[in-house]
Amino acid sequence: MARITAGVGCSHVPAIGVAMDSGITEQPYWEPVFEGFEKSREWMKAQKADVVFLVYNDHCTVFDATCIPTFALGCAPEFAPADEGWGPRPVPVVKNHQRLASHIAHSLILDEFDITIMNEMEVDHGLTVPMSVMFGDKGIDDEWPCLVIPLCVNVVQYPAPTGNRCYNLGKAIRRAVDSFDEDLNVVVFGTGGMSHQLQYKRAGLINKEWDTQFLNRLTSDPVSLSQTPHIDYLREAGSEGVEMVMWHVMRGALDDDVEEIHRHYHVPASNTAVGHIILENKKDQKAKI
């Protein structure tokens, strides 16, 4: 049977991708950003994930304003990196586990999550930057070490889905994966954030205290954390900080009882506080021993 064993929370700042693609990660500005992912890459390798279920948002790249799905599940065979205005990132095409994606789509809709099914889709930095930070440098002729099922969430046009909805969607994804008949190790990524505001006169807002309590409560107090109203994200973590609702999908897909394996926090990467956490289900840890 397929099983979800661990979750990763991770910022997806585009400038991180640019830094990797232009080979400047050892510069003093970037070195502390990437240092925090060294352990994560080792962990990712040891985890031997067959599939990453990756929750992210598109940044008005692939989805224009003609159609704004709240939840769009990638069911295509593969997803090419998109041109975001300065050429596509030079990273591998993302390959799907298409049979599992179809199974999840079917299961979610019967579970009353009326998602949109994407049979063709490109992916922007929201998806490729977390892949790069967790798997390291890969060129366009390389392959990612595992398959990826993308779930694209609207967080651009207000309102994003509530944290509660996202958390419960995570639970439904868990039920879907648990009922799939192939033996697969699935890791869920929730991406975006942490505090940042990119727009207008208050741009540059960072709230380390707020981000820290978010990371703390993700392990110990996830249900009440998922009840955080949108206004708190907007006011406290910046207008683009609302991306963090996507971390609740990841948390909902895990067991109630998880252990924090790793955490990294650094300000700034461009306009943004970089946050990262790795959580493992405790019962899966026992199974490994």
């Binding site: 990119l198 709230n207 707020w210």
Partner: protein
Amino acid sequence: MGLNKDYEDIPGTFVFDADRGREGYYLNQFCISLRKAPNREAFGADEGAYLDKYKMTAEQRQAVIDRDWNQLLELGGNIYYTSKLAANDGINFQELAGLMTGMGIEAYRAMMLAGGRSPEGNRYQHEWDEKGEK
């Protein structure tokens, strides 16, 4: 009962909701077209002719021509769309933020390196009103 737009009292912030999405629709569709290289070339060759293809208001059109980044947001633009126009001009996200805040690119970058803008005094419109910030 109307919707409670409790986010309207956050200073220096436009939350891009469905009303703003409606207002800015053609402006934003113009901006996103620039993510494709042939469109960037066509826009660069003749901005006026390219803009004629989009049914935006005269004010929105002028804000595009003027590269008035704040005005673009005030007229229904969204930052992820307007950043495509900025990228076309060789301006990245951090430089764009430096311009929108009125701080300038260098001072903004220095603020970010020092930990960013604190939420203290930046949560409610009345806090900016009392400081005389617009």
